[in-house]
Symmetry: C2
Subunit: 316 residues, 2 copies
Amino acid sequence: MLCGGVGAARFMRALAGVHHATDTTAVINTGDDNSLYRLAISPDIDTVTYTLASAIDLDRGWGLSGESWRAMDALNRYAKVMPSGSAAAPTWFSLGDQDLATHLYRTSRLAEGASLTKVTAEIAAAWGLEQRLLPMSDEAVSTMVTLRDEGVEVPFQEYFVKCHHQVAVAGLRFQGASEAQLTGPARSALIDSEVVVIAPSNPLVSIGPIRALPEVDKLLGRRRDSVVAISPIVGGVALKGPADRMMLELGHEPSAAGVARLYASIAATLVIDPVDEALVPAIEATGMRAIVTPSVMSDIEIGQQLARRVLAAGRE
Amino acid sequence: MLCGGVGAARFMRALAGVHHATDTTAVINTGDDNSLYRLAISPDIDTVTYTLASAIDLDRGWGLSGESWRAMDALNRYAKVMPSGSAAAPTWFSLGDQDLATHLYRTSRLAEGASLTKVTAEIAAAWGLEQRLLPMSDEAVSTMVTLRDEGVEVPFQEYFVKCHHQVAVAGLRFQGASEAQLTGPARSALIDSEVVVIAPSNPLVSIGPIRALPEVDKLLGRRRDSVVAISPIVGGVALKGPADRMMLELGHEPSAAGVARLYASIAATLVIDPVDEALVPAIEATGMRAIVTPSVMSDIEIGQQLARRVLAAGRE
């Protein structure tokens, strides 16, 4: 699977009910990774990890359930004396006390010279996961967002968290992507897996950074018939996050048909919800086959049914 | 004041009752500073800060009162999967959730290019302190301890915390001290202050690193008459920590007289407790004057009386 955060994590959890976890590999976006307090933070990897471990906070949609915020509360004391121009206590980005442990461990291991691939596997093992979770790259790729009204380019998390993704976007850039490499295990997974699933994640900022790495589109294009994408846009709106507005702002139709146009060169099949059945001709016009099945994973049964259809489509 | 951690902090708190806080400057040992999880940790600065803010945990002797340990508890999950040879989750060193905020802020500010002097002042201001707290240097100095039985040299915190300072010491080295500089404000304080007090801290590993910086002994020697040291050894034992054993192991007499021999070249006066009155001749033989007054700060009244005597001695 090519994965972003929440949507990918939910699909993977459903998939675990119909396919061996040990035969499942996630290649996860790291374009959102950032460094605060010199800690290495990997939001999408953590969302997938915590979700598969049933430890995610479902209401908040990120971080751990039963979390406490003592460190962040204590940071407010320092935020008040922080000189103007300093961003040393960025109170717009909350790290829970338990979540901090993940970042502390990752940071220490990276400083010891371990690769992000290695550390991600260790953290997944610590949570008892059997799926193979892989960062897309061990090298830094930073998704940069140009804000339309301000005309400035900011790192993704600043757009997403600080601005609550409420501002219009005028451009995207994946800094470092053309020099970075897909990891060896991720490359093997994209070549050797029976089926590649593109998760119902934001096509531009979640799947986009993975595709911006050298070779990825070429590798997928070569095996296009067994690549199945799940549309994250249902009835013209994103199930989660700003994918619909962002697509519109960047010149893409915010619909399953718009998603098809983005994926047609790398995936033969697009799975869409019955609410979008009228878009089948538009999707087929891109060269993709459309499979219509409930794709809003409101309960585990729908999720597992979706997972079965996706796997079957990739095997056909 | 030349300061280590606990003893220095307690004396400074007493001093605040008899002398304007705004006219008090602490030059604090940073030889114990270490980096865990890439966080910049300054144990002695924090002990002085938290103590003066009445926020220290008095029972534990370090860290904040009312502290929680959620991040450290969560780290245990990762400690279990940590590959052998890794020290990424060093569970021997506990950082409380609120205390983490101090390290996160310091780390961020240093990464922004602020000096440790500047950050220390900001943190002191955040706690409402009026005393001027200065790190001895803005450059890294690392106190290294050679363990006698193992024959290996380890950073101070590993000796102090991991080994609970229960192992014998065969040597001390202040790595980086000869290339590091006393900060400008610390230098001015040592020259211009009416009185310099050497706090009742470990002479070897708390005051030692400060003295290992270029110029310090020379600056103090020039104004020796107004430098007053308080013996941290009372009745042959350290009030706190391993100073007595460490002095013995490193060839110094573990007594107020042994302290006098260490300080005679830089301080004219040594303040000792009545229990050590018999040592007055031995102290005077070093060329120091001995002042006998209760120096075990078991209550605030004794501490303030001690502070008055120390100031008076320095002004004579």
